[in-house]
């Protein structure tokens, strides 16, 4: 085997060399760099998660806003409906009231007219009485002949009708 180069001190030297190299690399290269790689991986994972969360939040708030918009739309529709029905109701009420008022007004007008008519009739009657009295006085004052009597009556009647026609 020595012809091939087997040599125990060399072997030991290589073993020691390897162990020393291993020790140096573990302390100064493997541990720090692997931990740096791990930290970076952790950081990247966290960042991705944060990005996911932000995305999720954005989605959520978008959905929330959409829901609010929908709700508002429904609310507005409702308000509009209410307003419309209120307006309808109000109009009907007003219509009914107007009708009532109109009826009341006509009634009042009618009663006023009747009152007016009654008073006119009464006045007419009163003035016609006076007229009749005046005519009777005039007849009585004049010499009463049949013709003049008749003419007089006609004349008075004529006057009274023209006065009553006013």
């Amino acid at each position: 085997m020595t012809e091939l180069g087997l040599n125990i001190p060399s072997l030991v030297a290589y073993l020691i060399n390897f162990v020393v190299l291993l020790g140096i690399l573990i302390v100064f290269a493997y541990k720090p760099l692997i931990s740096a790689i791990d930290q970076r991986a952790e950081k990247i994972r966290e960042s991705l998660e944060a990005a996911d969360r932000a995305q999720e939040d954005a989605d959520n708030s978008r959905a929330e806003i959409q829901a609010q918009i929908n709700e508002a739309r429904v609310e507005a529709q409702k308000i509009l409906d209410q307003a419309r029905s209120a307006a309808d109701r109000f109009r009907e009420e007003r219509m009914a009231q107007a009708q009532e008022e109109a009826i009341a007004f006509t009634e009042r007008a009618k009663s006023d007219i009747e009152t007016e008519r009654d008073s006119a009739i009464r006045e007419l009657r009163e003035s016609f009485g006076e007229l009749a009295i005046d005519a009777a006085e005039a007849v009585v004052k004049k010499t009463l002949d049949a013709d003049s009597h008749k003419d007089l009556i006609d004349q008075i009647l004529e006057e009274s009708t023209s006065a009553g026609g006013k």
């Binding site: 180069g5 290589y14 190299l21 290269a29 760099l33």
Partner: protein, 359 residues
Amino acid sequence: MASSKKMIKYLVIAGIVALLVTGFINGAIGSSIFGKERFLEKPHIALPPQPVFPQSVRDHHLGYSDEHSYESVTKHQDDSHGKSDGHGDVHDSSDHKGHDDYGQDSKDGHADEGHHSTPLGLMDFAITNTMISSWFATIVIVLLFVLGARKKALIPGRFQSLIEIMFEGVLGFASSVLGNDMARKVFPVVATIFFFVLFNAWLALLPFYQFLGFVNESGTIEAHFIRPAGTDLNMPLALGLISFVLVEYWGIKSHGLGYFKKFFAFGKILRGKPSGIIDVFVGLLELISELVRIVSFTFRLFGNMTAGEILVVMVTFLVPFIATQFVFGLELLVGLIQSIIFAGLTLVFISVATSHEEH
């Protein structure tokens, strides 16, 4: 503008082809066809790693006596072949093991070996050229990773990103085999194995691995100052042992002492059932296969790295320029594949050892 760019492209291609042809003519193939002198000497490949320090040990193992030491680290320039007249086939070929002989006189008492390096004894201690390479790779890895991990920034720069990509690649690979939790526990050892094998293989393609060395009087490199650690049997063996220990540790940790029932399955036969003999035999096979893993780990990496080294050296010898680039490409791939295999098999063995299926 465009035509001048095209012109430059053609010039570069022509230059590369010219270099390739020059390399072919001056390399080993061309020189034997045209009878010219070789550009490079026949390479000297030693299977065992060569001791570099201390110098006395190096000289001894290179076949020089202590008082006969040579210039220390010297750049082996490409023109060194000029100094080396008379080497090569001057002397009768007294070489063995396929080594080139450098025509050394046998005055130094190592006549039978020439100046070829002899391997270290089993217990001899010396700093070998492969060890230096492994330290070099270690330093590069530590600098790269520690600097890369220094800031630990949440938003990484380019350099940190590069290191993180490497880490996450290994961690992802481990997770795909073992699942997330277990992968994190074994990651440090598996990643260190992976990067150690990878950097040792890739850094070995740097040019100074080939030209830095200890030369003899004729200017030839007798022993490289630095040599890929994968070509030293001890390096893959050390990694194989670490992998083995890791696998057994997790096996025991997840099964308790019951883990050993897999290997010593005497339960049935002690209860008097004759069919238990099969269990005992299967357990024995498991035990052997568990131990053989160390050997397979060792020789797989050792074989691949050594073959790659020999291929680089031989192709450089045959065609000195350009052709080696293709081998370098291949070696980059081999280095990556070997490191993935080493780390991957370790993961798979851990996965087998920790799985809770009935045996």
